[in-house]
């Protein structure tokens, strides 16, 4: 994997470079817009980290011209601007994602991975602690043991796993489940949660209820 890092601040450039190398990327560096555009035209990158405030040629211009040149590489914009308009403009010009400075390295790495995965099929296996879920076969195992789940329970589990570590509201769950063409009450959701909790408890996977907000799946 080859990444181009475009950033004019030497301190940040150094950390980005070291972080990306540590994550297994080969890196090229550009400290200004024109150098970056030249490198992009030569091609051969799998990912670009692009700062917007660049000397000689603005980051948005670099992006625009590279896209006009037919360059399709995923671009992650790193910027100190957090205005909604700037964000929309960047995405309109062909950026794939947007990270506002200062960010944590873990977040940068996660976004980079997500960009590289984009266009490929979703990862077939989701996991949370001792729980693994096969999105293709729609089967769940806990500690290697297959779990007996109804179709509805599988859908609820899937929805929670896709948004692992985040709160999933009842409304979102009902929306997911109502793809089956039926009305579903909030009480029904609580029944499914109760059953799922019982089945997941032995594996140390919990589903927390945040009253009035929704549910959050977490490993203990």
């Amino acid at each position: 994997m080859r990444a181009l890092i475009v950033e004019d601040d030497p301190l940040l450039m150094d950390s980005l470079n070291r972080a990306m190398r540590a994550a297994g990327y080969a890196t090229d560096q550009a400290m200004d817009g024109e150098t970056a555009l030249g490198l992009l035209r030569n091609g051969g990158f799998d990912l670009v980290l692009l700062d917007l405030g660049l000397p000689r040629l603005d980051g948005l211009q670099v992006l625009k011209r590279a896209r006009e040149h037919g360059c399709r590489v995923p671009v992650l914009i790193l910027t100190a601007r957090d205005g909604v308009e700037d964000r929309v403009k960047g995405l309109d010009l062909g950026a794939d994602d947007y990270l506002v400075k200062p960010f944590s390295l873990a977040e940068l790495e996660a976004r980079a991975r997500a960009l590289l995965r984009r266009g490929q099929t979703a990862p077939p296996l989701l996991a949370c602690g001792a729980l693994t879920y096969d999105t293709v076969g729609r089967r769940a195992t806990l500690d290697g043991q297959s779990l007996e789940l109804s179709l509805r329970e599988v859908s609820v589990l899937e929805a929670l796993l896709f948004r692992q570590g985040k709160v999933v509201s009842k409304e979102q769950l009902i929306e997911t489940l109502c793809g089956y063409g039926e009305e579903l009450s909030a009480n029904a959701i609580e029944v499914y949660m109760h059953r799922l909790r019982k089945k997941l408890e032995p594996g140390g996977v919990t589903i927390r209820t945040l009253r009035g907000l929704g549910y959050l799946m977490d490993k203990v």
């Binding site: 405030g53 957090d82 959050l216």
Partner: protein
Amino acid sequence: MSAPAPRSPQPYPDDDDVLSLRQLLVNWLFTPLYLLLLFSSIAGYIAAMKLSNRPYDLVLTERANFLVNHFQAKGPDNRMLEGHLPQGEGAFLFTVFDRSGQVVFSNALLPRPRPDDLARQDSRLRDAYFNGYRIRLLTLHFSALREGRRQEYVIQAGEAIGDRLSLGRSILGTIVIPQLIFIATAGLAVWIGIKRGFQPLERLRRRIAERSRDDLHPLDEAMAPEEVRPFIREINALLARIGLMLESQRRFVADAAHQLRTPFAGLKAQAELARREKDIPPGLHASMELICQGAQRCSRLVNQLLTLARNEPGTAAFSAQSPIDLRRLAHEAAMDWGPEAVRKGIELALEAPEMQLPVRGEEGPLRDLVDNLLDNAIRYTPTGGHVTVRLGYDARAWLSVEDDGPGIPAALRDKVFERFWRIPGNAQPGTGLGLAIVAEVATRHGAEIHIHDGPNGHGVSISVHFPHHATVQV
């Protein structure tokens, strides 16, 4: 009329001239009006007296002539006169003197003619006093044949002026009373005119007072009377200068915060990289951890400064005034804070009616408001605590975030909305800007903030009540 204008601490020259235009106008219009009344009354009185004298004087002269004729023909013979001259109240009094000043014929002893009257040969009318009464006195020279000789005589003829006075008074009345009415009407008209004249200024004042706190738009010149427009122009120029100052100050904060982001990003990333190294000594690792936290705090401060700069007064007015569902917004915000609450072992909950709570405002700033309330509550509530977001509608939409953390002492509650102010002795890392942002956003939306004790007297509950006009009727 109106409350006295507050005096400027710097006294103006001619203080009193400047302070009330109304007073100035009243003085300059009413003083001449009253002088006019006084002058015309005096003139009227003089005219009335002259007019009322004229017919009575003619009668007096005629009677005197009658008496002269009588004297010339009959001599001093009283008997013939009875029935010819009025008696009693309007009595005709006369005294005839000869050249030596001896009374030769009289029915009352009138004063002797004055030397200057004697020197003159014509007849003369004047006012005089007789026995303490005011009388009209005619002095007339004539000659008569007496004892075969032509002799010179002077007659003093007089009558009380009672009738003349009452005629004069009635003439004066017919002149002065309409004049009084006229002056009073004119005064009333002037008063009403002044009052009405100041109404456009009062309207202007009300319209300026009605403007919102952040409204620095120029005033509409057309709504001011022509004479006041130059002032409006100057005020607009002042508003524009204030706007520019606020804008440049806000931009400076935004730019500074902005410029700090990149170095902080570098610092933070370097510290994180160093922390990942496995073979560094534990002491150094602890330092790296602290540097990471420091960088984290700086980043947050920078973000908070930017948020504050966005919401300060003087920033562009709301771009969109479309109704925003406060319930949805609070729900989304609380969902995003859910994982952080779970990580800290705090029970986060939302209590809201199953209905939309639309308020007029801007999504971004309102989200900043809810985020900062939640951030504060979760930050200062210890593990095992509760944070509850409540929403409701009772004529106004309201939102509150309550916790059962350490709370805010009642005496300090006014201070928490000040920038960079933090509760003394507070060990939690914070910027001291969170509630300042909440206050700015609330003010921008015309909302009221209240701080109360939390449930059972523990912790704190901060509520935001949106104004009626910001609540869309449901």
